[in-house]
């Protein structure tokens, strides 16, 4: 159903979208939700930025002191912060690379028409529909040293139990594997949509010209799919930087601080140690990092490259 008004035709276009030239109605309808959403974003953001400039421990009766960039200076000298930065970079790069590579491979497979393809496409969506906290608990059980299914399977081959989440060297790869399982379907969905929008005539013409399968993938599929890959990268990178729930549930940042990414580091400071100023400073740095990483991708997407 469209919202077209046929009598005057002045307010609604033929597609039902309000014409912008009727300013008062346009502002009346668009204005309130825009203002509400803007305030709900802008006010907490400004408050958070201001909090980042305070030395404020909630448990300290002395209250907050304005320290300008004192929290940022303190963070720069904190080895725990740099450890969190390094772990976040490692986690984001490895997770997103694997997800895009696996996502592309699975999308290429599922874009083919074969018996059961529709069923498989639905099955691959299941992890994406599961709540991250539940996924974290599920993987925590799978990784359990004594009674987990993974060690149970290894035991069949005589391999002794592995302490997946308790060994500092294995903990981060283990949580990365869980996120690959959780979020690769998202990449599959985006790339599948991109693959199915490529006209089959392009491939038919290439085949007539004698192009090989690899040549078609390299010279047709990848270039035409690039905007969708960029889109998947944009979403996945932003999501991976602020990944919290699954890691918190699976390891709580441990063992030691082997999986304490920036988000967990900020959370512990703000809500466990009640250093809300320092926690807000970490959140501000995360925001800047997300901006810095996503802005170039966004620009390239807008330019249609």
């Amino acid at each position: 159903m469209t919202l077209s008004r046929t009598s005057s035709g002045s307010r609604w276009s033929s597609t039902g979208i309000l014409k912008k030239d009727n300013n008062s109605t346009w502002f009346l309808l668009i204005g309130p939700p825009f203002v509400i959403l803007f305030l709900l974003t802008a006010v907490p953001l400004v408050l958070s930025l201001y909090t980042a400039l305070l030395d404020w421990n909630l448990a300290d009766p002395a209250g907050a002191t304005f320290v300008w960039f004192g929290n940022f200076v303190e963070l720069a000298g904190d080895p725990g912060f740099w450890n969190a930065i390094g772990l976040t970079a490692y986690q984001v790069i490895v997770t997103v690379t694997i997800q895009v590579a696996f996502g592309l491979a699975i999308a290429l497979l599922l874009s083919q028409d074969f018996r059961g393809a529709g069923f498989l496409r639905s099955v691959y969506l299941i992890p994406m529909m599961t709540t991250p906290v539940v996924v974290g608990l599920l993987w925590r059980m799978l990784y359990n040293t004594d009674s987990g299914a993974i060690n149970g399977a290894l035991a069949l081959f005589g391999i002794p139990p592995v302490n997946w989440l308790g060994d500092a060297a294995l903990a981060m790869p283990s949580v990365i594997a869980a996120d690959v399982w959780l979020s690769t379907p998202f990449v599959v969905v985006i790339l599948l949509a991109g693959l199915r929008s490529i006209p089959s005539e392009v491939y038919e013409a290439a085949q007539m010209d004698g192009a090989s399968g690899w040549g078609m993938f390299w010279h047709i599929t990848l270039p035409l799919l690039r905007p969708m890959i960029m889109l998947a990268l944009l979403f996945r990178i932003m999501d991976a930087i602020r990944r919290f729930d699954t890691i918190y549930v699976m390891t709580g940042g441990g063992p030691g601080n082997a999986t304490e990414t920036l988000d967990l580091f900020g959370y512990f400071n703000a809500f466990t140690y009640l250093e809300v100023g320092k926690g807000a400073a970490v959140a501000t740095i995360m925001l800047l990092i997300i901006f810095a990483v996503s802005f170039p991708i966004l620009r390239r997407l807008q330019k249609g490259e």
């Binding site: 448990a59 009766p61 040293t145 004594d146 500092a168 709580g252 441990g254 601080n257 466990t272 009640l274």
Partner: protein, 438 residues
């Protein structure tokens, strides 16, 4: 101005709203504590659920005071307390909090002293106060003031599997009690090829679980958050007692513990004992009764109990949970009545018999015949001895207390996860603490 019907209608509505608000105010202001409505924050456990479902309704029936109960998981407690009390919103009148929370609550003046009520003979019968162990009451005082009435005491006990002791040639009637004896017994009891760990305790950093277990051992080794003169001292992680304890903790868990012990909270440690996978377990007393529950435990009837022995007189970690009155409560009389009720002998006996609170903070409840009939006498004897040496100040009583515990937990987790050696991890923790308290 022309007054239309619309104006009259609006004025009438406004008057109705104002009157309703005023009347509501009158009823809240004018009623005594018997008609009061108060809000109670509980930490989500089986015992607190029973308080909510059974005892709080009983209290309302007896007093006419309506109580709204909010249950929060222990892991979210710190954030909940800081956000609700820190904002000064008067969201709660009475809160359940642990001795570990007192550092934050008292330093930030979020809870108030209860001494005026305790000294008032009309408000507080002496039979109420006499039921608490004297040592516990005095050690819970902060600057000579009482801020919490104890409800549950998590004094640490050593639980052991009697059959495993006999199989290893150890006498269950003479269990190990000092740290050296526990280490020696763990070595004998450890049989990894048979799927039997010699010892189990909390190893996870989650909720500072590992530092809780470590502090139990550290207290036994003479470690304290004060120097010899009783003056607070927090950067003590490189002192001999702390280093020795870290070595013993690492040996007990890494060498004699189950394979995944670095992820163990009290739940996994408890399960390892219940399933007969571990021979000894050092943990809080209130967790003991589940080992005797035949529906959950394969070792029921085969459990031994010992109160550990350490240096000094107050060497047992008294993980006390109690009830405190929030500063600025509008119903202090009603709040005090509720605190008294929740920490009364009747509730303590009732919950001990039902099995929901196996370690009440009241001596008169532990000696009650009904409780004696309901529990293993060895358990009651060990717990009574442990409570007599309980020290609730196991977390630093300063605003940075939680952060200091966090630094110790991080160091222990690094040690168990082979991320750092003992000296390095404890030195790092000490440097963090120095920064926090400077």
């Amino acid at each position: 101005m022309h007054i239309t019907r619309k104006h009259v209608r609006a004025a009438a509505m406004a008057a109705t709203v104002v009157t309703a608000v005023a009347l509501t105010g009158c009823s809240a202001q004018g009623g005594g504590s018997d008609n009061a409505e108060i809000n109670l924050l509980l930490i989500e456990t089986d015992s607190s659920k029973e308080l909510r479902d059974v005892y709080v309704p009983e209290f309302t029936e007896e007093t006419g005071i309506k109580v709204n109960v909010d249950l929060v998981p222990e892991s979210g407690m710190d954030a909940k307390l800081s956000l609700s009390l820190g904002s000064g919103s008067n969201q709660y009148d009475v809160i359940q909090a642990g001795a570990k929370n007192l550092s934050t609550l008292v330093a930030s003046k979020w809870i108030q002293p209860l001494d005026d009520y305790l000294d008032d003979k009309d408000a507080t019968p002496s039979s109420y106060t006499d039921g608490f162990p004297e040592q516990l009451q005095s050690s819970l005082k902060i600057e000579d003031a009482t801020y919490t009435m104890p409800y549950q005491v998590g004094a640490d006990l050593l639980y052991f599997n009697k059959s495993m002791f006999e199989a290893a040639g150890l006498d269950p009637a003479e269990p190990p009690r000092t740290m050296d004896e526990i280490l020696a017994a763990a070595e004998k009891l450890n049989k990894p090829d048979a799927g039997q760990a010699g010892f189990v305790a909390r190893g996870s950093r989650e909720g500072d679980a590992n530092s809780f277990a470590w502090i139990m051992m550290w207290f036994l080794n003479g470690g304290r958050w004060e120097d010899a003169d009783g003056k607070p001292k927090y950067d003590v992680m490189t002192e001999p007692a702390a280093i020795t304890t870290a070595e013993q903790y690492d040996t007990l868990l890494s060498d004699y513990g189950p394979a995944g012990v670095s992820n163990y909270t009290h739940l996994e440690a408890q399960a390892a004992m219940q399933q007969g996978k571990a021979a000894m377990w050092l943990d809080a007393a209130q967790l003991g009764p589940t080992l005797e529950d035949t529906s959950q435990s394969s070792i029921a009837g085969d459990v031994g109990y010992a109160a550990p022995v350490g240096e000094g007189d107050d060497y047992i970690v008294g993980a006390v949970w109690g009830f405190s009155m929030v500063t600025g409560t509008k119903n202090p009389d009603a709040a005090w009545k509720l605190i008294q009720f929740l920490t009364s002998k009747d509730v303590a006996v009732g919950q001990a018999v039902s099995g929901q609170n196996g370690s009440p903070a009241r001596t008169d409840a532990l000696t009650d015949p009904k409780v004696k009939d309901a529990y293993n006498p060895d358990y009651l004897a060990a717990m009574t001895e442990a409570i007599a040496h309980a020290n609730p100040n196991y977390s630093p009583i300063i605003p940075q207390g939680t952060e200091i515990r966090g630094a110790v937990s991080l160091a222990l987790s690094k040690i168990l996860g082979d991320q750092a050696d003992i000296e390095q991890a404890m030195t790092e923790a000490n440097q963090t603490i120095e920064q926090l308290v400077k």
